[in-house]
Symmetry: D3
Subunit: 339 residues, 6 copies
Amino acid sequence: MKVITLGEIMLRLSTPGFDRFIQVDSFDACYGGGEANVAVSCANYGHDAYFVSKLPKHEIGQAALNALRRYGVHTDYITRGGDRVGIYYLETGASMRPSKVIYDRAHSSIAEAEPEDFDFDAIMEGADWFHWSGITPAISDKAAELTRLACEAAKRHGVTVSVDLNFRKKLWTSDKAQSIMRPLMKYVDVCIGNEEDAELCLGFKPDSDVEGGNTDAEGYKGIFKAMMKEFGFKYVVSTLRESFSATHNGWKGMIYNGSDFYVSKRYDINPIIDRVGGGDSFSGGLIHGLLTMPSQEEALEFAVAASALKQTVPGDFNMMSADEVKALAGGAANGRVQR
Amino acid sequence: MKVITLGEIMLRLSTPGFDRFIQVDSFDACYGGGEANVAVSCANYGHDAYFVSKLPKHEIGQAALNALRRYGVHTDYITRGGDRVGIYYLETGASMRPSKVIYDRAHSSIAEAEPEDFDFDAIMEGADWFHWSGITPAISDKAAELTRLACEAAKRHGVTVSVDLNFRKKLWTSDKAQSIMRPLMKYVDVCIGNEEDAELCLGFKPDSDVEGGNTDAEGYKGIFKAMMKEFGFKYVVSTLRESFSATHNGWKGMIYNGSDFYVSKRYDINPIIDRVGGGDSFSGGLIHGLLTMPSQEEALEFAVAASALKQTVPGDFNMMSADEVKALAGGAANGRVQR
Amino acid sequence: MKVITLGEIMLRLSTPGFDRFIQVDSFDACYGGGEANVAVSCANYGHDAYFVSKLPKHEIGQAALNALRRYGVHTDYITRGGDRVGIYYLETGASMRPSKVIYDRAHSSIAEAEPEDFDFDAIMEGADWFHWSGITPAISDKAAELTRLACEAAKRHGVTVSVDLNFRKKLWTSDKAQSIMRPLMKYVDVCIGNEEDAELCLGFKPDSDVEGGNTDAEGYKGIFKAMMKEFGFKYVVSTLRESFSATHNGWKGMIYNGSDFYVSKRYDINPIIDRVGGGDSFSGGLIHGLLTMPSQEEALEFAVAASALKQTVPGDFNMMSADEVKALAGGAANGRVQR
Amino acid sequence: MKVITLGEIMLRLSTPGFDRFIQVDSFDACYGGGEANVAVSCANYGHDAYFVSKLPKHEIGQAALNALRRYGVHTDYITRGGDRVGIYYLETGASMRPSKVIYDRAHSSIAEAEPEDFDFDAIMEGADWFHWSGITPAISDKAAELTRLACEAAKRHGVTVSVDLNFRKKLWTSDKAQSIMRPLMKYVDVCIGNEEDAELCLGFKPDSDVEGGNTDAEGYKGIFKAMMKEFGFKYVVSTLRESFSATHNGWKGMIYNGSDFYVSKRYDINPIIDRVGGGDSFSGGLIHGLLTMPSQEEALEFAVAASALKQTVPGDFNMMSADEVKALAGGAANGRVQR
Amino acid sequence: MKVITLGEIMLRLSTPGFDRFIQVDSFDACYGGGEANVAVSCANYGHDAYFVSKLPKHEIGQAALNALRRYGVHTDYITRGGDRVGIYYLETGASMRPSKVIYDRAHSSIAEAEPEDFDFDAIMEGADWFHWSGITPAISDKAAELTRLACEAAKRHGVTVSVDLNFRKKLWTSDKAQSIMRPLMKYVDVCIGNEEDAELCLGFKPDSDVEGGNTDAEGYKGIFKAMMKEFGFKYVVSTLRESFSATHNGWKGMIYNGSDFYVSKRYDINPIIDRVGGGDSFSGGLIHGLLTMPSQEEALEFAVAASALKQTVPGDFNMMSADEVKALAGGAANGRVQR
Amino acid sequence: MKVITLGEIMLRLSTPGFDRFIQVDSFDACYGGGEANVAVSCANYGHDAYFVSKLPKHEIGQAALNALRRYGVHTDYITRGGDRVGIYYLETGASMRPSKVIYDRAHSSIAEAEPEDFDFDAIMEGADWFHWSGITPAISDKAAELTRLACEAAKRHGVTVSVDLNFRKKLWTSDKAQSIMRPLMKYVDVCIGNEEDAELCLGFKPDSDVEGGNTDAEGYKGIFKAMMKEFGFKYVVSTLRESFSATHNGWKGMIYNGSDFYVSKRYDINPIIDRVGGGDSFSGGLIHGLLTMPSQEEALEFAVAASALKQTVPGDFNMMSADEVKALAGGAANGRVQR
């Protein structure tokens, strides 16, 4: 099916192994970003995934585009121009030492893109799903405007719209976020976000202490109901992460379709190899699940298994096939060698 | 002592770190294979270990031979010729993501070797031990014939023979395996293999669910007795692996000499660095133990400690000295720095 | 503040990843050594840290000096001359396989330095703290003499003196150690060392089995009191390590000021990335704590948090800022990504 | 324009730097092969390039496919199935030490592909150019049959056909080559090949000693005329390499359209970074030139500049844009930094 | 002596070996920039070199600062703040393929620094030399203002001022450059720049075709005289590069003190390892020469030898000691191993 | 044939690529040393080569031994014990920047070995050739004594003895060298050494300026005659190196059998990949040539070709087969790819 995502793809510069930023004389380089990661997941599952963005004409822009192409994402809707590819630096933590991200993404091509860079009606024509995250409108006012235009076009073409709220405090304040995000919710069918996102992006007061790693599924139910009531979502969904350390997390998810709550199996991820992109692979798995599976339960289990697996692989992108995800969702978690 | 092993040594191409096959632009390269790994273990423990195989004359064949030579294995009985070194690709898993092996070993020099490539009487002359695994006869009909000839020569020269059943479903079916393996058991003194191997290679019905990671030593006893009764082995031995995840296993072993069962200490291997070759290092340790130690208990404890240590080291080969193995078997498991 | 440390900085040659010495064809190279590591910690916390040593004039000597300079340590008191930079080879263990260190440090420039290589009065002029460890006098008789001269000068200038007892059996016997160390204790204000060190360097009989990983804080109290009584220390301090495996330790500390014992929070370090330098980062944190914080409790918590974090980073040096250490000491141990 | 190529894409395993095969414990890995390389060149120049082949379903097959996709080659006509990806090992020479290639390509998926794996009429529909090389029919009799079928379909659809004769003595004899290649020449419009190829694939006796590095353009004219006369080609083309050492070559080309001979500028390539794929990048440049430029002179200059540049870049693929090639063909050979 | 330089230090991300930007999945990382490079050269020669700039407080900023500190540059005058470290991407060419630089330096901390970030009177107090290049004022209008303020302070304190004209067309036009640079020339004592720089920064018409690699020293004399006449420089100096290819250059220099022209020895650099920073190492060598040597001839020979050697070392910084430079300037160019 | 060499094998730590010592954070590690290198050459050519030395029992000693074993050298006569493996640090030059070696070899196991560590009669029993170099007696007085004992045993057993004079100024003075070396010459049959060695080790005054790279074969003849006259050698041999730069040398050799002088073909080595071990590979080739070829001319051509090839390969050891050397000696110097 035709799946559209809109956002930024950045150059990720990560230190080798567990080295700190100030130790290294090389960086591992890959490309990633919330919506690009979702597009790769969907391509892996066999969909015609299109990533919509803008990239400079120079070779670093080309390399970002090639990264998408390599994993089967269609790049027809990527406009070329502007000055720079946004960057994020990543240092991978261990035990009680947290991973660190330094963003250097201001003034990227997509942050300074204009509405005329994209023909959203052509893009949404024949599409089945459109996904974006709260990062895209947070990049810049121009990008917020693009998001609105894309949502409108999606609705004109009858495309299902999902959002991953994904609040980023380095990009905007909660007040700014709410002023932009709340009006966009009317276009959204599937809303993904944890309590913290719900509070900071949409103004819903959390019931429990998420910061402390306390992720009681029960405590989410009130917010889910309130969100659905106010915005009329078809589904409200969240991952539930227990942070024991930088390399050991518990991981599960919850979905609500307005009548039933379903909490998935819980995975103990130990060691985590790379947790960046975990949420994006959840969104990608959920889109695949809701597009192709008969129940919200199956869709959620697929999404949770997909995102647990992502966190065992380096890089932003989820390198898993649908068969591999299904094997885990079906119970094959003992890690025996596949010969 | 003179220890002979017969089999294939392959080029192993593994992805760096935890990368997946489709991410990498380099492979770590080493050489390994069940019986070659056993030979290296025996050389490490001070034996005159000889590996019997066939390798091409080109440099990749030479590099495989050099890998053995580097670790002290005698290569006098390696015939040069044929077209290719078999390959296996390895991707190392983590947490719930399993390791993956892709074999590309058909048409290797040893798979197409002829009886006249080897003078088994010269090879077995003066030997103390001959070890092979179920992989060797599974490679090809020609290799199965070589295995038979080697076993016959071993018996002619009074050499103790051990086998690691090691069923590989990519190489043959259970029916084919049984048709080849059962007639070879009459040459065998020491039979190593878990329940699954016993069923698929020899047709013994397992008592418990090994696939699920459930390795109840108790459940093995019946099969061990039956195996010994039918084939007259001196020892039946098995490792008992609990697979919690790709990077966390429990590990112990069991041995039976026809009168007593002995179950070893259990090791909690977490993290596993490289589990490939774990079984081979067990066989190597067992051979050393049975050749040099007064009791099956000591031999088994040495074998289990050796193979637990192997799984903390990258590569197929076990890089442990007898002293290091003995230190662990003797209780030094706290991992304090050796300065 | 001006902090002085005296000792050796070595070239550290460590095998990549978890490879064993006999597998590798490259070494990761960095520079480190007990007192140099302490100097780097202090520089990270904003102090004017000076490392006192001797290094050859050639480029390996220069590289060692540059490593200190890179992390902000003043190198004004490093004399250039002599023949070699001491080396230690490091192999990193995993699970039940211990890390291994091979020392090749005899005949280094500092081991053969003469008193006239240093003007200790100039060095101690205006200094606030002088730290050394039991390794320095163990290197050679000449280095022991330098240690004594430095301690005397420190006392002349009213500098607080700390020692990390740090017994190394490859460098000297317990008898030799006691003959050198006991007379030096009269210069010491803060004595850091576990039970084993206290026994081997100073002759205090331990109460509990530290070798077995049993580190009962209660059992240390008697020794702490006896040490303080005999030598008149202001503080006696120790780390308490529980060694579960090479990659999993428990970690806490205890301090005693003559009236109160305080045991810190306990950290579960799993996985350990690099435990070398753990004790040094503890000393560095303690110096910073005692120099700048109002209570021994805060100083100890800072020291323990600092040294727990060190063990999550490759290399001898502690790459942590005071803010990062305080965040952990303040409770932020869940390892959530810092964006 | 739509450009089709048919052939094999292999996994290339090359030793790092100038290491020999027997020294290394890693291989640089990329994917390449004559016709795949041509497809990448054409994609770089903006054409819709399609590579036709067969690859296994496993991840190594997928990685080969992804390599093409990454650089913009369409993979719609790649059939999935069969057992293995062919391999070639590469050791890069220097000075008087030649580079070495060890092939391990027998039994690859494309070597064992069947006619029904491809719908050549669909493939050639709307195509502008079809390119193959003498390697494709040399792989196996099945692949030779596929080549014939592809040529026939190309002719049915009015597609221009080019061949790079590319004799490989490890794959077939000259007699076998002539028996297969000569009948295929009737489909060919543009024939690329040096004297040696012309002799060994087609039976034309060379006039000069090419093996000795003596590549006198004058001496080629007789053969070019004879080839055109016998087979009715539109163009006969050859590169002219002077081999001074493994890292220093002279490089130019010659083209003949039946009336005029044209010899290109000569480039002095020193150092050569990677000469593998030099001929393929020449073919790719020539196809682009003949498709888009007004004269054979311009087409040849583009092809020669493209292939000179290729030899300054690691890997099989030519990583050059049309603008970069044109800059060199236009005279910008002084290598000043492009800022 | 106290040497001051003012400018930007960037993160340099270069592709390994000769790989192109679109091939790589890692970057070698170091830090560099015109005036930082000059500071490192001066520190290598034993001067108290201070680099004046602004860097963000985050770890990438710290790493840039540490790079300077490692090589002995004083960082007391580096202000911390602002958003980003400028970046440049580097791809190293070979033979006829040129190296490529992509700049991503807009909005760096120094580009947005304010006059109050620096106390130029304190900086210039006691200084012997102040060096800047045409890149600094080209970064931004704010940086141009800083340059002017620094020059004024230098003159107030009687500091010798040198400039490397260094026109960069990606940063400004020739018109803009002239409007900024010409008024600054009144502060300058030593002007370094080739004909192209002299034309584009100062408006002097060149006599010969420098772009074509034609660097006839004779042709420079007229411009040198005119420059000195107009601006009253004490010295006008230029490097003279012959660009044969990306990896082979000729290299010499010329100096004029108002009465005598002197042309240095010529070096044939083949292969060039890294030509970035060649001009900066020339400036650094020249400053050292003019500060410490009796004649302009010796100063120039030192500068040319220093910069020839720089081009044989990876990275922006010149890693040469004064002794090594003198050895080459003295004639030791045969490259025999120094044991 | 049985070939014996006596000397030291060191750990070689070289910087990657063209990096300088002070830039790196890793070292490439291999093992080598004059006589070990000769042993590897002889093993490559099919001889039973034995290296006689002493190595510590620890893993670095084992790794050195394994390096020899890997390339087929017999290690039966290597005694284990002592404290350290000698080290040399290597930085590879380019163009006019020379390579640099820093030795850290004092106090190695072989330098402190005792006569009773070796049974030279057993070693020389049945041997055909014994080779040593001037480095061995220069290491220490003990090693000089070992050299004498080995020479005496060789003579007792009728073994041909060759020496490579190889003067090293860091190890001894010319006076010391002459006092040790001259008395040893009576055991020598084949003397290898250039003019500089002849002067510094044996006291023969050179006729030409070798230091300046001037290696006129004619000028050697007088010294060769004088050497043969005084010491009664069967052959006097020398390499003749023209040093144009660190990466470009001319290379040839000269031999004299008392009646005829023969000067070999000259090779232009450009680029040199690694010149360390060039002389040793010459000695190895010469031994093979004199042992197996009918004339001194053929032996010399083999030796020169072998050593030219060595300089195109990284590492101390010569990785060439006899066939590869013969191909070059036979004229195949154009570097065309061997497929």
